[in-house]
């Protein structure tokens, strides 16, 4: 369980960029809506055991989020289902160029070559705000109360919910 404890002195942007080593410069694919307003996108080769997953897979779930360009908002977490679905799909083919995560909220920004950005905004809700699955079988998890861990994606999830 010690792996599940958030580090006290963390640099989430450095960690996230390290997690994405090898993914910068790759095209997103398989971007699609999940349950409710959650969505996921893939980078890299399809995962052998999970062909619909890439080597990297970002899943944004229990957080507010927005997809925007420098001049317009394409969609956000409370848009209608149809609008979200259409706008999320446009992420396919976009080339990831950078990512950062801010303290203390662990809200993240994923930037693409054409200026499009995926921005998450943690609202202190229960559950994981977003997860980044890596090719080495580890998963980066950002959650409430500064929950920031890297652990095996096979590990059972722990219930950190507090409401």
């Amino acid at each position: 369980m010690s792996n599940d404890r958030p580090d006290r002195a963390i640099d989430p942007t450095a960690d996230l960029r390290a997690d994405l080593t090898g993914a910068i410069g790759l095209q997103a694919w398989g971007a699609g809506l999940g349950v409710g307003a959650s969505f996921a996108l893939n980078l890299g080769q399809p995962n052998l055991s999970r062909p619909r997953w890439g080597q990297w897979r970002l899943r944004v779930s229990r957080t507010a989020w927005r997809i925007e360009t420098p001049t317009s908002v394409l969609t956000a977490s409370e848009y209608s289902h149809g609008e979200i679905d259409a706008a999320v799909a446009t992420l396919d083919g976009k080339v990831l160029v950078d990512a950062d995560a801010e303290l203390p909220s662990l809200s993240a920004v994923f930037s693409f070559a054409d200026g499009t950005q995926v921005k998450t905004f943690s609202v202190d809700a229960d559950g994981d705000h977003w997860r980044l699955f890596r090719p080495d079988g580890l998963v980066r998890i950002a959650g409430p109360d500064g929950f920031w861990v890297l652990r095996s994606s096979d590990s059972p999830s722990t219930d950190r919910r507090r409401r």
């Binding site: 349950v35 927005r66 925007e68 001049t71 908002v73 303290l103 202190d124 809700a125 409401r163």
Partner: protein, 380 residues
């Protein structure tokens, strides 16, 4: 933060100018409104009833978070009781700065104790947030990326008033719903989480005075609040893809079903009587009519406009297409009146013959600029 205004342009500079005179003043009157919307005041109380500060920030559909540089103090994703506590923390904080991000018009307000209030636009609007100024003007962020300064009319602050008791419920400028059956959430002493997504066979045993947070198969979340006798009195859910499940299918007697707003708009509230029959509907008639799709109830278009997203569908299942058409016509007509600047009040009651379980029809009572009228739509 004031010095940085020299470099500000566009909305950031506008907001800074709007707040001229407010920097250095303490916040007062912070109050959570419907769901996660809230307001806070700055400056002297104005002679309105209830009193309003010279400046009032009203956060509508934006997600929000209060934080320091080291810790998140809370945000719009918390349960209501915790949200309320976080909003109350704003009182007494001294405003020292502000900022606005483009293109989303997400705003940040900075306080002297190094806390900051961050707003995050996540809907089309109509309003992400608004700021009332002492000169009678209102800064409006939304819909979408529109940024404007408008006249302050008495309706500007009326988008969603609290859902308490028999108070009228305003769901938009110039539009008020009257719903005497509306019951507030029961006060609860604790919460219980039931995950039927991970444990589909689990049995839900209701506890008195408790908030039951149920995750249905597929991840849809429903909160059921029980009173001191253990009776469910309030069911709250998000407009999610319809998932048939007994928790939503079985109508509960004397309860209020509230579906959260989407796109910054009130979605729908349904009230049942002691026979678990639907007796009141509160919804936004300006929503597009007829946009329902496979799996969606014909009234879904009227009651929110999202295919299949009116979750307590069982409550609406006994209302047929004739009611939907009638309410659709009325909704379109009332929407025109609202768009002309007229003031509209609406009440929708479902009526029955005797103790019958199937509705005989829906009676609509409305007034436009004080002119009252009513019409009944038979459930054929």
């Amino acid at each position: 933060m004031n010095d940085s205004s020299l470099q500000m342009t566009g909305p950031a500079a506008d907001l800074h100018a709007d707040l001229t005179g407010a920097f250095g003043l303490p916040v007062w009157g912070s109050s959570l409104r419907l769901n996660s919307s809230f307001r806070m005041d700055l400056g002297q109380p104005c002679s309105t009833d209830p009193p309003r500060g010279q400046w009032r920030l009203r956060v509508y559909a934006a997600a929000w978070r209060l934080e320091t540089s080291k810790a998140v103090l809370g945000g719009s994703g918390l349960i209501r009781e915790d949200r309320q506590a976080v909003v109350a923390m704003l009182d007494g904080k001294v405003l020292v700065g502000s900022d606005v991000q483009l293109p989303s018009l997400s705003a940040t307000f900075f306080f002297s104790d190094a806390t900051r209030l961050k707003l995050f636009s996540q809907t089309r609007g109509p309003h992400h947030w608004v700021l009332f100024r002492p000169d009678g003007m209102v800064r409006v962020a939304g819909p979408d990326c529109s940024w404007s300064l408008q006249d302050d009319t008495p309706d500007q602050d009326s988008e969603v008033h609290g859902l308490s008791g028999s108070q009228p419920v305003r769901v938009g400028p110039r539009l008020t719903w009257v719903a005497p059956s509306f019951a507030p959430r029961p006060l609860v002493g604790g919460s219980l989480r039931i995950n039927l997504d991970e444990h589909p066979g689990a049995t839900v045993v209701q506890q008195p005075g408790t908030r039951h947070m149920v995750t249905l198969p597929g991840g849809v979340e429903v909160d059921c609040y029980t009173d001191a006798a253990g009776q469910t009195r309030y069911v709250e859910t998000a407009p999610s893809w319809y998932v048939p499940h007994p928790v939503l299918e079985a109508a509960v007697a004397g309860a209020t079903y509230a579906v959260h707003p989407v796109d910054g708009r009130f979605a729908v509230v349904l009230c049942t009587d002691e026979q678990a029959r639907l007796v009141e509907i509160v919804a936004d008639p300006v929503a597009p009519v007829g946009s329902y799709g496979p799996g969606g109830h014909p009234l879904a278009g009227l009651l929110g406009g999202w295919p299949g997203r009116v979750s307590p569908a069982a409550l609406l299942g006994s209302l047929g297409a004739s009611v939907g058409e009638g309410l659709g016509r009325l909704g379109a007509w009332l929407a025109e009146a609202v768009s002309r600047g007229q003031h509209v009040q609406v009440r929708l009651q479902v009526f029955y013959e005797g103790a019958g379980a199937v509705p005989a029809g829906v009676r609509a009572d409305w007034s436009v600029d004080g002119q009252a009228a009513a019409e009944s739509f038979a459930n054929a």
